[in-house]
């Protein structure tokens, strides 16, 4: 039997992405590159990201990465968006190296969101 291309985390996040959606009234950004799209929207209160939502068009790893970053950054200060843990995401989601570019699109979206929130 050939190996399952998705680990348990990817399957979990793809099947039930709790952070999928868009926040009405939140700050929203879109990254569109490499044939995939990632949109993020965030609400901030008291210097913290109180809610972060994503939408994505792409492969299961990309969708899982959308859920991953929402879980990771929610509750953090907007300044945290300046650091993007590419290696941790690649490892946690067992992203094939040929899909690295798609994770970098998620990074683009996070950086864009950071610029929007920090200005």
């Amino acid at each position: 039997m050939s190996a399952d291309p998705y680990n348990a985390r990817v399957r979990e996040f793809f099947a039930a992405p709790a952070h999928a959606g868009r926040l009405a009234g939140g700050v929203t950004v879109l990254a569109d590159d490499q044939g995939v799209r990632v949109a993020l929207s965030a609400s901030v209160a008291d210097g913290r990201i109180t809610a972060l939502r994503f939408r994505a068009w792409g492969c299961p790893h990309l969708i899982a990465a959308g859920e991953w970053v929402c879980r990771h950054y929610e509750g953090e200060p907007p300044a945290a968006l300046e650091k993007f843990p590419t290696a941790r995401i690649m490892e946690d989601l067992a992203v094939p190296t040929e899909k690295t570019g798609r994770i970098l699109v998620v990074e683009d979206a996070i950086q864009s969101l950071g610029r929007s929130l920090n200005h």
Binding site: R37, C59, P60
Partner: protein, 386 residues
């Protein structure tokens, strides 16, 4: 996986029929001899093989002596194409096939091109059909061999083999047909069809994997050179010890098919209609190929859906994105691209293939699940401009 899986990939492979399994077990238990041996047990094995050839010959309306056992359709295609083109190389170097053929055909043509043969790749129309006029226009004075598949493995498109075969007869071109998706599923009378060589495999029609055959018409000039060497079996065309139990299984599968082919077709037509009616009104859904193609296959694309995510969202449906032989590459299907689909359309293509054991409940569930998966992925996707 806790959920019950629903197998809708019968074009890739079919389950072995219980009667076939019984026959294989019976043969395996009663006879271990080499069918080439001359002692009593060997002669009994020979008789088992001969009986299977009679059964397969009956399905195809041909004499048993016109059949050569192989390991499956890929080997049959290789033997027919490489062996046929080389045998007739003195007549010319031009050989013809279609862009939408299976890799077991296209790769052999590419290998022959490297040997110095001149290959023409004819194009199908937008539905995947090859007209006799287009085919005839591709033939030249030095054309000596052509190969066209009966039923396309991805789209289910059925070619007009009789008309294409007549074109070949008119031009004295040796005509090979890849019948892997057609034998045992469509009525085929090779006594009447102008076909010189036909490849088939057992596991596409409820027989075992690892066994197939090549039909070689008994007519002047119709011959192939062997591609394997090492013994005198099967008139030196395909040496090697025959797997008696697999051969017997293929024979039984042919017998079962001969008795059930019409009822199978009616069943498949009904299932395909239920499936297509259940999804055809989804925005952006298109049927790839010929609406009147083989009813066991339904290939559909849907706009603005990413294919890999669609495939995962469709679990527990076991379906295919392309032919199983190249589905791991995640490249858009070259067959669908040849029909004019964009990369995105080809990438979202799903091949549902139903079979004898498929139930109405299963295809109704599949249609509903497909609708749900498409809706969910569209909901998840951001609009192009936020």
């Amino acid at each position: 996986m806790a959920e019950r899986m629903i197998y809708l990939d019968y074009a890739a492979s079919t389950p072995v029929d219980a009667r076939v399994l019984d026959r294989m077990r019976e043969v395996a238990e009663m006879n271990c001899a080499n069918p080439s041996s001359t002692h009593a047990a060997g002669r009994e094995a020979q008789a088992i093989v001969a009986d299977a050839a009679r059964q397969l010959g009956n399905l195809l309306s041909v004499a048993p002596a016109t059949l050569v056992w192989t390991s499956g359709a890929t080997e049959s295609d290789n033997l027919a194409i490489a062996g046929g083109a080389r045998y007739r190389a003195h007549r010319g170097k031009h050989i013809v096939t279609m862009k939408t053929e299976h890799k077991a055909v296209t790769d052999v043509f590419e290998m022959l091109a490297r040997e110095g043969f001149d290959v023409s790749w004819v194009e199908a129309d937008a539905h995947g059909r090859l007209s006799p006029e287009t085919f005839a226009a591709a033939l030249r004075d030095d054309t000596q061999f052509a190969s066209i598949m009966f039923v396309n493995n991805e789209t289910g498109v059925i070619q007009d083999i009789e008309a294409l075969g007549l074109v070949c007869r008119e031009h004295e071109v040796l005509f090979h047909v890849d019948g892997a998706q057609a034998v045992g599923k469509l009525p085929i009378d090779l006594g009447k069809l102008p076909v010189d060589l036909l490849s088939l495999t057992g596991h596409k029609f409820y027989g075992p994997k690892g066994i197939g055959a090549l039909y070689i018409a008994d007519r002047p000039g119709c011959h192939v050179e062997p591609i394997l060497f090492g013994g005198g079996q099967q008139r030196r065309l395909r040496p090697g010890t025959l797997p008696t139990d697999l051969v017997a299984g293929l024979g039984m599968a042919a017998d079962v098919a001969a008795a059930s082919i019409e009822s199978d077709l009616a069943h498949l037509r009904s299932l395909r209609r239920i499936l297509w009616d259940g999804i055809r009104d989804i925005e952006g859904v298109v049927l790839n190929g010929d609406p009147d193609g083989f009813p066991g296959i339904l290939n559909v694309s849907v706009e603005d859906i990413e294919g890999e995510s669609l495939l995962l969202a469709l679990e527990p449906l076991l379906v295919a994105t392309g032919s199983a032989c190249n589905s791991r590459t995640q490249e858009p299907s070259y067959v669908l691209r040849a029909l004019g689909l964009s990369d995105d359309q080809a990438q979202s293509a799903i091949r549902f293939s139903v079979g004898r054991p498929t139930t109405r409940d299963e295809v109704e569930f599949a249609a509903g699940h497909y609708r749900h998966a498409v809706a969910r992925l569209r909901e998840l996707a951001p609009k192009a401009a936020v």
